[in-house]
Symmetry: none
């Protein structure tokens, strides 16, 4: 029974709701860390950085409040590590992107489809949203994200876009502002959290239409 820690927490007195609470106990440090990060993602997503309470994160993760501090320096570090933990897996992928040219349309379609599949279709959209909504208050995160993700993606695709534009496969503007490729996806994420209730938006369809536009009047 040594394992049967007094629990009783889980819903407690504070009154906030709780969705998918993890109730596991005495797992491996890694699992614990992961549980806290998962709970943090949930809470930050719903309440924002300032609005999230570490007590709720702990409860949702099935650990005590103090335990969070065994794995993370403080609330800010938790937030930053959360973003990093969600972004890091992608970084590896970015490393291995083939540096060979391909038809512009194929490149752009891969990008947007990957975005829809891997971001919009997963919890990663919540991380993107957090970066967009909270990033201004976390220069370190903004810089990290820009340096590790955006700059690298841009560094990777911009040359290809430039060459494709030179080949006439793509408007010049896209090569100059590759942000244009993803912009609708980002807006779609925000739209989802703001207006979906009143006016749902099919982001995947919008992205396909967007790609169509990018190449309208171009030879395939």
């Amino acid at each position: 029974m040594a394992q049967a820690t007094t629990r009783k927490a889980v819903q407690g007195a504070s009154g906030r709701k709780m969705a998918g609470a993890a109730k596991r106990r005495s797992a491996s440090p890694e699992a614990r860390r992961a549980a806290i990060l998962a709970a943090a993602l949930d809470e930050f997503t719903v309440r924002g950085y300032e609005g999230a309470r570490l007590e709720d994160v702990a409860r949702r993760a099935g650990v005590a409040k103090g335990t969070i501090y065994l794995y993370f320096t403080d609330k800010q570090a938790l937030f930053q590590d959360l973003v990093r933990s969600m972004v890091n897996p992608i970084l590896g992928t970015l490393e291995q992107l083939p540096q060979v040219d391909m038809p512009a349309r194929m490149l752009v379609e891969r990008l947007t489809e990957t975005f829809v599949r891997e971001i919009i279709g997963t919890r990663r959209k919540d991380i993107i949203r957090l970066i967009l909504t909270e990033g201004a208050r976390f220069p370190e995160i903004a810089q990290f994200y820009h340096r590790e993700v955006i700059a690298r993606i841009l560094g990777f695709i911009r040359p290809m876009l430039v060459r494709a534009a030179a080949r006439g496969e793509l408007p010049e503007g896209v090569a100059q502002f590759p942000q244009l490729i993803i912009a609708p996806g980002l807006v779609g994420i925000l739209w989802g959290s703001l207006f979906n209730k009143y006016d749902p938006l099919d982001v995947a369809a919008m992205m396909r239409a967007h790609v169509e536009i990018l190449f309208s009047g171009r030879p395939v």
Copy 2:
């Protein structure tokens, strides 16, 4: 003379010591309200809704903490009134939009140029940013903004875009997802607050490039 009794005696239990004296009286109520709103815009922009402290707003507006409550019910009302005060002037403009068709390119250019001039080029971009970053925590604001601004703009331009697309002046996708027209502008606003320090982005230029793309390969 019953009331000319020596006072002070009792105190101790009851409390309040002495409030401060009133200082200035200069500004008109309207000016004062405006000053508070301006200060609130600054503070909310820099710190976000939760992070902003009303004491800082007051100081920045040159008034006392309590004065804010003479003009706004509470912090949330201040935030909502701020958004409304920045959005309302636009609403009038929207009313007077000409309901006559025009060439699609002209329509889109007007839209994007207006956006760049009136939003990106003014403090309104900060309001847009606040709506994007805090709106999820203010359903009322999100709904208000969607109903009063977005839905009306969409209701206004979508039919024109549909007809323009039918005339072949515009890709179908734009008519279906008018959000595509503005998406780069919104992303530009967010980019500005997140990455401009490391990687400046010329939003106006991007918007022009974007318009170019929307009409690439189309007859003028």
Copy 3:
């Protein structure tokens, strides 16, 4: 129109209700003072000393907040002057009480009937209640009330009660503790504000029964 001061107050924004608001204006100083005292009685009665807001007192009196300070030093003075203003008229009466003996029963009946008629049946019961409930925080008031009212009444009736008791018209205890005569009346006042809703109490009838008890088994 000089007299038509901008009013608009009267219900304002604060949301508290308002019963018998006086809306007169530019009355005589005495009338103004009286209006403020009347309003103060209402507010203190309903909310207690700490709970009463001078803004509500002002509104109810039909004056501006600052006007109160022209007539009273501060909130505490207002409270004390209120008590004094309600008590003073009685003081004169006490002066003129006939110092002649009368049958004990008549004396006690006069006392209790006067209490029921002049206190229980009027707003004075609210002053008594205020003294009972707030007096502990206002030593000055407690002392004033004891000195000016209680001590004088006791000084007046105790000798008569003693003589009456000596004549066998009255239990010794009543002469020793004249408070016993009025105690039910005071409890009746408090009962009224606490439990009347659930369990109404006919204070007048209780007082009559009480007198009956005081003289039970006594010759008339």
Copy 4:
């Protein structure tokens, strides 16, 4: 080691500096709760409900301000729990009152002696005083007290008084208004907080005299 990044960087915007360290841990939760209640009784007694400051309660209890909120929802709950905690022990006693008739004088003497011993002679008199002075602003407490204490006592003794009166052991009025039995005790409590300084009152003696009066001229 991604998480071992240098922190601190961001701060500025987010807020919280550093909370204080936990000091003692000694007392059991029950003892701590009791300490807070005891401190609250002191403060509420001296300053009244509105006038009492939770910071003073905390200091007096030897805990931090926030600790109070670990044991009580808010100030009002603290007050209500205080009243309940003082009243509850009596409730048990009331349950066990013998339902058998006894001579009226014995019944009344038990009542008054118990009142003097258990209320007047203990801190419970302060609770009674709080109920009397603050109850009007706490309908819940007034109702609770009436329902749990007063109504039950009345329900218990009234039938006995009625029968005793029928047997001629007691004036009719007492059976009709049992409040008369305790009224002097309540007045005594209030007198104590208001006038004892100037004019001490021996409540116990007054109660004995009162009982004597109730039965004067009656067969024992």
